[in-house]
Symmetry: C2
Subunit: 521 residues, 2 copies
């Protein structure tokens, strides 16, 4: 409405987390004349660029004066102009895909072009947070059919950068491993990657930092080595060692997914369709050709029943097949944490113990890593089905995996001093005699976070008892490590309310544990 | 997580439109130690108050320095403390009703207590914009059943202020009239209110300003009189004149609804359940006991078919019955604008012409207002069914409605100078001979807004032809009025692309028009 008017751009140092926000003064003649309201969507034109942004109305001259156009850090980066550059604004037409968004909100099925146009607009930051939330909720559970998930995944790949390892390293078969998450201590990547790289496979692994968990692979690897690697450096490391264990945050592999996660996380929404599109788009964009996917199943895991796990597995397989990704899905035991340590430093300790063949090493972590690595090794056309596990075990037991890990650590940049676990400690004790019949992953993760993990890498839990273990009253179940007294007290108070362990009689144990049989895989 | 730390509050003059936002510097030790991220939800404790807010991370000392806690205007008002007051922050627990929100997102039916707890959290500003959007989308079409709409409406009433006219004015029967909107020029309230007040009924009408339309009743009444009235003044006016035509924005009648609208508007979502709860909660909170509700039906109205209108009518009736509101729903002709003028000044002119019995007055506006007023008058136990229309007509034709309107205008505060329609004009001409067979309400409203309405009250359209009129090529269809040359050109350019009228042959006219029979009511 009304003419565009010229304003002077002022960079406003506010991080709006991937949303373009502009700040204009209440007394700005443009605001008054055009009838802009708080949260109006506006088009900003500057230097031949056009971006969409949400308007915040300001009454403080220290932020913007009447003839300035304040732009948030995100918007400033997208415009790519200097402070003080002239710009004009106008009422924004809705993003082109808003019609498709409304059809999805009404429960309609969307076609390939419609999903592509939504994802393009999201990647171009044309959606407000409100519109993103609407898309995430509208595509939640039961709303996306398999075809739609294929189209969504393709669209997410198309708007991002795509790595080509054939070109970079001259290697066509690129293996990867991913877990859908939810199990504390489940640090298998740091074992699997050196094992399969020692077998000669290319495994350039990028991982995330923890979002809601006490540690991500990137956080844990960072205890040992640098993980924030410029792309060219990462390529060189992969050329030299066939592998890496880097943080994937800078690679811009799936920019639309990164933006969607900014609303999925606060909403705690992780629907099957979105999960599949998010994971597979990132893996394919990262250049992976073969993927082993770990889906833990358990009463406090992300996937709570075998029926649900099977449905999710089939959806992953369907989409992977259409996108020509070789996929091997493993349903694993998700009824308790993996390993002893929870938190970056404690998990790094577990990993190094397994690699070093330390008798104190957690056997469950070793076993699970060998099984996953074995499945990846079987992607090698020269390996017979069923032989992967033994090859992996030989590589680990011979010390070749440790040597490979050290090569990766040195290539990425070894940390001079590996920190020790937090010096402040508290033990959480059994309140009665019994057998551990259940462990609550969510509760245990929460207590580790209260102790400070992952922001404080040395904080976390060291588990002393596991499912099936007999305890007598007063036995320590786990030890809390913290760096700050207040964190220790906070975690202890929560643990004393509900420590996350349930004690009972041996008969209450799930059958597989009572009989010593491994649950799945 | 981690201890609360003390910071100094700094009011940041940013209007975040009902979302609590706090601004903290990237280098603030609290941000670093507690691991707060952009868009984290935090609890702010100050002066015994606790509010939830979304965190924006700032890198500019002019906005906040490292030990300050910047708070947006909304958050500052809610905290009710001085600039410089000490405050502490902590990671926020999710709002108590977030579990219920997730159940709704998964498609479950919510009970009374769950909906009440969501609405309470929304009214207390414990939801972020993202969570509000999730609620709005999750409760969209097909998702809320009738019982849920009853509970949602009740919950919205319970968290707001509720007027009691029996106590204020000693009158038990309070009549009101509402239209669900979407029809330009449909300014019947300004006729209906003086007519029913002249009949002796209590009709304290509060209206909104235009959100997406070229004029709301409050905008139009403001051409003639003050509409922003403090509550006590409004009560006195109602005591004196039995009526008012005030802006309802300050009354705090349905605070949760006001907050929900802040996301429904940018999403253009107006689902039946939300519409019913929004309208009925506001009417009941305003103390109305009897309501006539106008649902216009037409191809470019909000409700596009009779079947849809009937479903919506039944939902309104069901909820009203459970909340003991006497409701009379009128399905009206929504296939074209009502009256000649579109825009505050032009619509006020139409209203006054009808009240003054001016032969130039738009007959459709007069007729519709009389029918609606007649239905309201029949709420009077002393009036026989079918007599309302005649009583209304007698009141209008005798000049008593005009006298009543003048009394209301004087009581609210008469505008010294009623502005004339915008002096800049352009006529939009028929491009061929034919009969007007369709009019597009949305397009016509949009052109009126481009001309400047409602921000420029004198801007808008004056319609010269209506459905069924014969035109010859070159006849003016309507006149655009504007105050600024750029607005006039902008509106004209859009009108020349598509003027909103469709010309055709008389046989293409809907039957009721061809035969001169009024469509509905």
């Amino acid at each position: 409405m009304t003419q565009r008017s010229t304003l002077k751009i002022r960079r406003v140092g506010i991080d709006t987390w991937r949303e373009n926000v502009v700040y204009m003064h209440r007394d700005c003649p443009v605001v008054r004349a055009a009838g802009f309201q708080a949260l109006s969507k506006v088009e900003v034109h500057a230097n031949g660029q056009v971006i969409l942004a949400v308007l915040n109305v300001v009454s403080d001259e220290r932020i913007v004066s009447a003839c300035e156009l304040g732009v948030s850090e995100d918007a400033f980066r997208r415009l790519g102009v200097e402070d003080g550059h002239s710009a004009s604004i106008a009422h924004a037409e809705p993003a082109r895909s808003i019609g498709a968004l409304h059809r999805k909100i009404s429960g309609e099925r969307l076609g390939k072009d419609e999903l592509a146009s939504i994802i393009r607009d999201i990647a171009d930051a044309r959606y407000s947070k409100i519109e993103l939330a609407a898309f995430v909720v509208a595509t939640n559970q039961y709303e996306l059919d398999r075809e739609e998930v294929v189209h969504l995944t393709e669209a997410m790949i198309d708007v991002g950068r795509r790595l080509n390892w054939q070109r970079e390293v001259g290697h066509g078969l690129v293996v990867d491993k991913h877990c859908i998450g939810g199990i504390p201590g489940n640090r298998t990547s740091m074992l699997v990657v050196p094992i399969v790289a020692a077998h000669g496979m290319l495994c350039p692994k990028t991982s995330s930092r923890a979002i809601t968990s006490p540690a991500g692979t990137a956080d844990t690897m960072e205890v040992l080595a640098q993980v924030e690697l410029p792309f060219e450096r990462m390529v060189q490391i992969v050329r030299d060692t066939r592998a890496c264990l880097a943080w994937g945050g800078t690679a811009d592999l799936s920019p639309a997914d990164d933006i969607l996660i900014s609303v999925e996380r606060p909403l705690s929404i992780d629907s099957p369709g979105q999960m599949v599109a998010s994971i597979l788009s990132k893996k394919i964009a990262a250049g992976s050709t073969h993927l082993v996917l770990d889906i833990p199943v358990g009463p406090s895991a992300k996937v709570r029943s075998m029926a649900e796990a099977q449905r999710l597995k089939k959806l992953f397989e369907y989409v992977a097949k259409h996108l020509r990704l070789q996929l091997d899905v493993v349903l694993s035991d998700g009824r308790q944490p993996i390993g002893h340590g929870i938190g970056p430093v404690l998990e790094a300790r577990d990993v190094m113990q397994v690699l070093q063949g330390d008798p104190a090493a957690p056997q469950d972590l070793r076993q699970k890593a060998l099984r996953l690595a074995g499945r990846m090794i079987e992607f090698d056309p020269d390996v017979r089905g069923g032989e992967g596990f033994q090859i992996a075990r030989d590589i680990l037991d011979s010390g070749r995996a440790l040597a490979q890990m050290n090569a990766i650590i040195d290539a990425q940049g070894r940390r001079a001093d590996v920190p020790a676990a937090g010096a402040l400690q508290a033990e959480i004790l059994a309140l009665e005699d019994g057998v551990v019949v259940a462990m609550d992953n969510l509760r245990i993760a929460r207590i580790a976070r209260l102790a400070g993990a992952p922001q404080v890498p040395a904080a976390g839990l060291d588990l002393l008892k596991r499912l099936g273990d007999s305890v007598v009253k007063g036995d320590p179940l786990y030890r809390i490590h913290a760096q700050y007294e207040a964190d220790l007290q906070f975690a202890r108070t929560h643990a004393e309310k509900d420590c996350g362990y349930r004690l009972g009689r041996a008969e209450q144990l799930p059958h597989e544990f009572a009989s010593g049989v491994l649950f799945m895989m």
